[in-house]
Assembly symmetry: C2
C-alpha cells in the first residue's frame, strides 16, 4: 500500500494513510457489532430481519429485486412460493479447483434480475445489442436492464427496445453525461486541502440527487471516461435497488445469467440494517484478472495500480449495492483513487485500477468468482488455464482493443460463439418466459390482440399480418453526425435491401448532402452491410449519411413502413423522397436548397417540388452533367422518361414536353396513378403502411399530399435518373398471382374509404377519377 | 393385456398368452441369478467386472462408447482420468415432482455419446440437419451419429457432413432399405405356424449379418415403415455398441444431450455378463406420452395398442443395447407385435405402439425420464402440464403431422426455439471442443494448414482465403426425381443467389428439361428459398429441377465453386452451362437433344456446342418464339447481341453475322476473352475455383476447353437472351478497387502458368494471345 517511487510524494502519502486508517476505523463502526461471532451463510446473528430470507427472496430495501408483475398480489407471490420451483445451478466455486464437488444452489423462479451496462456512442450501442441478445437467449428470468448512456446510445437503444417488445424485459436509462461531470468535487484532490465534509467516511445517506462524477480522474484506457462510470453505480442506480450485475459492453454470455446471479447468494452475510457492516463482509463479486499486468513485471519500470496478486477484472461485476452504500463506497474509492493518483499519473485500465486498489486495501470486500464467468481474451491472456480445464465457459470477455482480431490460438471458438449472437435473429427472442407470467409490453399486447382478430380465411391474411408486424428498428446503425441546423436544407430519404448496396457509393457521389436511408435487413445481413461500409472509402468518409436498420420479418416487403423510418429520422426541414435505384443530378442538392429559399416555401406555400424522373437501360452510362446534356441523351435514345415503355402514366402529369422548355417552376395537377419524386417539408404525411409488397405504395402517398392541398411544382433544372436493376420479387408475385392483385385492389379500396373519411367531399375526386376507365 | 373386442380372436390370444408366459419364464433365465439380492445403483452383486465402474467410464463390450481419439494411449486416458473433471448435471428425476431436490450427476468428460436417427428422403434430411444443429449447439462432448438412411438421405447427408467438417463428430450410415425388408420372416406371423427356431426367447447371439425386418407390420402412421425401424436398432447397430440415444427427426434440443446421456447411468443395474438379465432390469429410457391416446377414451370404439397408463413416447429413447440384446429384445417385440396384430389391424403410431405393448408386458424394462426430455407438441397434447411447471425445457418434439402449424397457445415460444436452429449458421458449429482433444477430420486439418500458410501481408490474401474455403453443401435440398437415362439428354446448369430467385419461374417455363441449380445462400436464406418454391405452383410442380445449396462463407463470391457443385450433380450425359440471368429459346431443350444426336457427339467428336447469346434492356419483353422473331427484334433495336455496349469481345468469335445466315452448325476458333454459353459432356473440365468474385471465371473455363481440344460448334437455331439486372457487388468492387484488379491479374497469371504446366507447348498460344494489345 505504500506509494512506490517519487520520494517527494511520501509526505502527502503518509498523511493520506493516516486519513485512510481513520476511515477504516469508522468503516469498521460499532464495536459491539464488530465483536459478533461470524456465522456461515444463513446465520444472521446481529440482524433482526435477515436481508436474504431462507427462501432466497429479498424483502424490504431490496424491493426492486423483485419482478413487479409477480408481486401484484399476495396470492401470486404465495402461489410461486408454494410451488417452490427451483433450478439446479452449479456452485459458484472456481472451476479451476479440479476436485470440485457439484453443489448446486437453488434459485427460486422467477426472480427479476438486474443488469447494469454503461454505453455511449453508435458502435458501443451495437455491441450492447449483441450482449443483450446473448443474455436473452439463455435467460429464463425476467430482466431489468439499467443502461447508463449518452444521448446517442439512449436514442438508439430506446427505439430498439421499444420496437423489439421482448416480454419480461424492462429497461431504465440513466444519463451518463450527468454522471461524468456532476457538481460534487472529487474528494481529497491533491491540489485541494481536505475539508471537514469530504472527510466523512462513515455512513453517508445515499444523496437524493446523486451527483457523483468521474471526469476528474486522469485515464489512459481506450474505454475513456465511460469505463470509470461503473464506480459510481451504487449512487446512480435507484436507492432501493439492492443488487446488480454490472457488465462491460464487450462480454458475451454463453450461459444463463441466473447462475451468476445465484453467486450473489453465496456472499458472506451482512450486518443487520441497524449495525454498520462487518469489516470483512463481501460486497463485490469479481473474477481474477487473467493476465500478469498487476504483477508489475511486464516491462522495466512497469508500475500498475496496486492489486491483490493478479488482481481482478471488472468486465463482470456483482455488486451488493445496499451494502456498498452503507459501507460508504463512494468515499472509499474516491479516497483510494486520490491517494494513488499522488504517485501514478492516471488510470491505465479505467475503473479496474481503482476497484483493485480499493480491494487491495479491503480484501474482504471481494467474493472471487469462478474464472469461467469472465474468460478474458486479451493479448497476453492466461485464460487458457481456465477454459481448457473448465467444462463450461459461461461468459467471454473481448477485453482487448483488437476485439475479435486478438491473437489467441482458440479465437475461432470464441469468435463463433460471438458471431452466433451477432447474427442471431433478434425477433426470435420475443418469446415469452415460462414459469410465472411474463407479460409483454402494452403495445405488444395490443398487437397480439389485433393479430388474433385477423382471420386466416381472409384472402389477404398475409397482407394484413405484414401490415401489423412491428419491425425492430436500429436507428443510426453506424456513426452519424447530425447536419447543422440550416433553414433550407434537404435530406435525401430512401430505403433499400441487401441487393441494392452497390448503389450507395454512386449515390454518395451524386448527393453531397445529408441522407437518411432505411435498410431492410436480417441481423446477419446488417453485419454484412457494416463490413461493406467499412471496406468502402467513399462510404466510410461520410458522416452525414444516417443508416437505419429495419429488421426483416414476414413474407411481404413492408416498403412504406421502411420509408417511414427513414423519413422520421430525417433532421433537416425538407426531405427529397427518392428511391434507391435513382441517381440525382450532381447539382440537385444545391439546386434544391436554392429553389426552396427562392420559392420561400417555409413561409409562403405548402408545396411538393417535383424532380422529373428519367431512366437509362444501360449498365455503363455516362451521367449527364446538365439539363442540356440530358436532353441530348434523351434525343439520342440513350435515356427515356421514367417507365416510358412500361408505365408512362406514373409520370405523365409532370409534362416532360413543358419541362424541356421550362425556365421557371410550373404547377401541375394531380392525376390518377401520378407518382413523382418530390421534395416536401419533413412534417409531410407518412406513407400508408397498409401497402406492403408491390403496388400503390407511392401513388397513395402522392394522393394524400394532393388531398392535403400540396401544390405540385415541377423544377425546371432538377432531374434524377433510374438505373437498370433486376425486377423485384414482389413485382413478379404481383404479375403471377391473381390473389395478390385482388388483395392490392382490396387495400386500395380501403385506403380510398379512409381518405374520404379524413378529407370528406374533397376526396371524392379520387374515387371519381379512379372509376374512369 | 387381454385383447379387447372381437371375441372370435380370443382363442388365438389365449394361445399367445401361454407362449408369452413361457417366453417370460425363459427371459427370467437362470434361477440362481434370479435370486440375487437387488442392490441400489452401484452395487453389482452378481458381476465379476461391473460394466459401469465407479469412475463412470464404460469398459469391455462398451468399447464403442469411448472416444477413440482419447483412447489412443494409456497416457491420454489416465491423464483424463487424473484430471477427474466433471460437469454438474441435474438429476434425471421427473421435473413434475415439484419438491425436487437438486441432485446432480457427475458425467466424466469427454465421453463419446452415440445417437441413432432413422432418416429417409429429401424433406426428412432437412429436418435431421436442424436437429443435428441443435445437438451441436449445446453439446460439449464428441458425438457419434448412427444414421439409418435410404439412398437419398445418405447421398445428401454424406455430402453435407463431408463438407461441414465439424470437429469431434463421426457419422456412420446404415442401409434402411436392407432393414426394411431383410430375409428373416417375422416371428409367429398369424398366417404361419410357429417353428422351433422362432420360439427361442432365451439368449440369441446378435446375428453377425443382422437381417431383421419391419415391412411385415401393417402401419397407419405418417412416418411409414421408417418409423418402425427404431425397433431393430439393437440388431442393426454394431454389436459392441453398448448404449445409444435414439431420436426422431422432428425433435429439437434446447440443452446439452450429455445431460440425457447421464440418465443412462441411473438405470437399474444389470446382470453380470455370465448371468441372464434381471427380470426387472431397466433397458429403455422413455418419457411418458403427453396425450390421452393410450387411455383409449378419445372416441367411441377407440382401440389403441396396450400401454401402461398414458404409455410412453418414442421420439426420444435411451437404449441400453447390450442388455437389450441379451434380453432377446428382437424376439420380445416380434412376439408382442404379432400377438397384438391378431386383434388390431395395424400400428397407429408405428414403433411407439409396439414399444408400449412390450413395456405393458415388461414394465420393469423402462426407466421413466423427466417430461422435459420430450415435450410433445401434438394437437391434443398435455405437455403444458410439463413445461409450465418445469424450469428448463430440454427437448421439443414436433410430433404432430402439422409440425410448426400445430394448434398450441405457446407455439410461438417453441417455434422460435426451432427457428433458431433452422436458421442457425452451421459454419459456426465448426468450432472445436475444449476438454480433451477434439480432432478435426483430416481434410479439415489439411485445410487448416493451408490457411495457416497464407500470409496476411499478401495483397490477395482475401482471394486466396476464399479459394480455400470449403463450403457446406446440401445437395438436392428439395424433393427431386433423377431424369431417366437417355443418351442425348441435357441438363441446364447454373448458379444463383437470393437476388435471382425471381428468375426461376421464367426459367422453368423456358426449359422443360432437367436442371441442376446451385444456390449460394445462408442457412436463413435457404429457408426463404424453400418457402418461395413452396409458394410457387410452377416451381413446386417440377421434380426434375435439382436445387443444391452451397452455404455462404467469406466476403467474395466463389462463383466457380458454386458452378462446380451444380455441374457435379448433373445426371444426364450432357450439360448446358448457362447463367441465371439468361432465358433460353423455348425450343432449345428439344433442339439441343436433337443436335447432339445428329452430330453424334458421344462417339464422333469432342465438341462444345455454342448457344449464341443476346440481351434485352427492357423489363417487360415479349420473348421471340423463333430465330426469325429474334432477328426482327435485333433489327428493331429491342434486342442486342450480348454485352454489345460494354464488352463485345466476349462473344465476337461466335460470329453473329454468320449465325444470321447459318443453316448448319459451324466451327469457330477460340480467341482472347471468348466466353460463350456452351453444351458439353458432363465430364468436361471443372471451373477453376481460384476465380472468386468478378472476372475471368468463365473465360478461363472456355480456355481450358480449347486447351483440351474441344471443337466450338455454333448451333444455327439456338439462342439465349439475357434479361436486365442490377450490377453485381463484385463488378462494383472490381471497378472501384485497384487492389481487386491487381489480384485478378495475379490469379490470371497463375492460371496461365498452370495451363502451361498441364498442356505444355500447346498452351503457349494463350500467353501469346494475351500479350497482344
Amino acid at each position: 500500500m505504500l506509494p512506490r517511487g517519487r520520494p517527494r510524494a511520501l509526505g502527502a502519502a503518509a498523511l493520506l494513510l493516516l486519513l485512510l486508517l481513520i476511515g477504516f476505523f469508522l468503516l469498521g463502526g460499532d464495536l459491539e457489532c464488530a465483536r459478533r461471532a461470524r456465522g456461515g451463510p444463513g446465520s444472521f446473528p446481529c440482524a433482526l430481519t435477515p436481508r436474504i430470507p431462507p427462501d432466497g427472496r429479498p424483502r424490504g430495501a431490496a424491493a426492486l429485486d423483485r419482478h413487479p408483475q409477480t408481486d401484484r398480489g399476495a396470492h401470486n407471490r404465495s402461489d410461486c412460493a408454494r410451488r417452490g420451483r427451483c433450478r439446479c445451478l452449479p456452485s459458484a466455486r472456481p472451476a479451476l479447483v479440479l476436485t470440485e464437488i457439484c453443489q448446486p444452489q437453488c434459485l427460486p423462479l422467477p426472480q427479476l434480475l438486474h443488469v447494469a451496462i454503461v454505453c455511449a456512442g453508435h458502435n458501443t450501442s451495437r455491441d450492447v445489442i449483441t450482449l443483450v441478445k446473448s443474455l436473452l437467449f439463455y435467460r429464463k428470468n425476467p430482466l431489468h436492464l439499467h443502461l447508463v448512456t449518452d444521448a446517442v446510445a439512449r436514442n438508439i437503444l430506446e427505439t430498439l427496445f421499444h420496437t423489439w417488445m421482448v416480454p419480461a424485459v424492462r429497461v431504465s436509462f440513466y444519463d451518463a453525461d450527468e454522471l461524468k461531470a456532476g457538481a460534487l468535487a472529487p474528494l481529497l484532490l491533491p491540489s485541494l486541502p481536505p475539508t471537514p465534509s469530504s472527510q466523512g467516511m462513515g455512513f453517508m445517506p445515499c444523496p437524493s440527487h446523486p451527483q457523483p462524477q468521474v471526469s476528474w480522474i486522469p485515464n489512459k484506457h481506450y474505454s475513456g471516461l465511460y469505463g470509470l462510470m461503473k464506480l459510481v453505480l451504487p449512487g446512480a442506480l435507484p436507492p432501493d435497488l439492492a443488487r446488480v450485475i454490472v457488465l462491460d459492453t464487450d462480454v458475451t454470455f454463453a450461459s444463463d445469467i441466473a447462475e451468476l446471479w445465484a453467486s450473489l447468494l453465496t456472499f458472506l452475510p451482512q450486518a443487520a440494517p441497524s449495525c454498520p457492516p462487518l469489516p470483512d463482509e463481501q460486497v463485490i463479486g469479481l473474477v481474477e484478472n487473467q493476465s500478469d499486468w498487476y504483477l508489475g513485471n511486464l516491462w522495466r519500470n512497469h508500475k500498475p495500480w496496486p492489486a491483490l496478486g493478479r488482481g481482478f477484472n471488472t468486465g463482470v461485476i456483482l455488486l451488493w449495492l445496499d451494502r456498498l452504500r452503507q459501507a460508504g463506497w463512494e468515499q472509499m474509492w474516491r479516497l483510494t483513487a486520490t491517494q494513488e493518483l499522488l504517485t501514478l499519473p492516471a488510470t491505465s485500465l479505467a475503473d479496474q485500477d481503482i476497484f483493485n486498489a480499493v480491494i487491495k486495501g479491503h480484501p474482504a470486500l471481494v467474493q472471487p468468482l469462478p474464472c469461467v464467468w469472465n474468460v478474458q481474451l486479451s493479448d497476453h491472456t492466461l485464460a487458457e488455464r481456465c477454459y481448457l480445464e473448465a467444462a463450461d465457459i459461461k461468459v467471454i470477455h473481448w477485453n482487448s482493443p483488437k476485439k475479435l482480431r486478438v491473437k489467441n490460438k482458440h479465437v475461432e471458438f470464441f469468435r463463433n460463439l460471438y458471431l452466433t449472437f451477432l447474427e442471431y435473429d433478434g425477433n426470435l427472442l420475443r418469446r415469452e418466459l415460462f414459469g410465472c407470467p411474463s407479460p409483454r409490453p402494452p403495445e405488444a399486447e395490443q398487437l397480439q390482440q389485433a393479430l388474433a382478430q385477423l382471420s386466416e380465411e381472409d384472402a389477404c391474411f398475409e397482407f394484413r399480418q405484414q401490415q401489423l408486424t412491428v419491425h425492430r428498428v436500429h436507428i443510426t446503425f453506424l456513426p452519424h453526425e447530425p447536419p447543422p441546423p440550416r433553414p433550407h436544407d434537404v435530406t435525401l430519404v430512401a430505403q433499400l435491401s441487401m441487393d441494392r448496396l452497390q448503389m450507395l457509393e454512386a449515390l454518395c457521389r451524386h448527393w453531397p448532402g445529408p441522407m437518411s436511408l432505411a435498410l431492410y435487413l436480417t441481423d446477419a445481413e446488417a453485419q454484412q452491410f457494416l463490413r461493406f461500409v467499412e471496406a468502402s472509402e467513399v462510404l466510410s468518409a461520410r458522416q452525414d449519411v444516417a443508416y437505419h436498420v429495419v429488421y426483416r420479418e414476414g413474407p411481404l416487403y413492408p416498403i412504406n413502413q421502411i420509408r417511414n423510418v427513414a423519413l422520421a429520422q430525417a433532421l433537416t426541414p425538407y426531405v427529397f423522397l427518392s428511391d434507391i435505384d435513382f441517381l440525382p443530378a450532381y447539382s440537385l442538392y444545391d439546386y434544391l436548397r436554392a429553389s426552396i429559399e427562392q420559392l420561400e416555401l417555409g413561409s409562403r406555400r405548402k408545396a411538393a417540388l417535383v424532380v422529373p424522373a428519367f431512366e437509362t437501360l444501360h449498365y455503363q452510362f455516362s451521367f449527364p452533367t446538365s439539363k442540356a446534356d440530358l436532353l441530348a441523351l434523351l434525343d439520342a435514345g440513350s435515356v427515356y422518361t421514367f417507365r416510358y415503355h412500361e408505365w408512362p402514366r406514373g409520370h405523365t402529369p409532370t409534362d416532360y414536353a413543358r419541362w424541356r422548355e421550362a425556365q421557371a417552376p410550373y404547377r401541375v395537377q394531380w392525376a390518377v396513378d401520378y407518382e413523382p419524386y418530390v421534395v416536401v417539408p419533413r412534417d409531410c404525411p407518412r406513407y400508408d403502411p397498409r401497402f406492403v409488397g408491390f403496388g400503390w405504395n407511392k401513388v397513395a402517398h402522392i394522393m394524400e399530399l394532393d388531398a392535403q392541398e400540396y401544390e405540385f411544382l415541377v423544377l425546371p433544372e432538377a432531374f434524377t435518373i433510374h438505373l437498370p436493376h433486376t425486377p423485384s420479387l414482389d413485382i413478379s408475385r404481383f404479375r403471377s398471382s391473381t390473389a395478390y392483385r385482388d388483395c392490392l385492389q382490396a387495400l386500395k379500396d380501403e385506403f380510398l374509404q379512409d381518405l374520404s373519411r379524413h378529407y370528406g367531399a374533397a376526396a371524392l375526386k379520387y374515387l371519381t377519377a379512379l372509376q374512369q376507365p
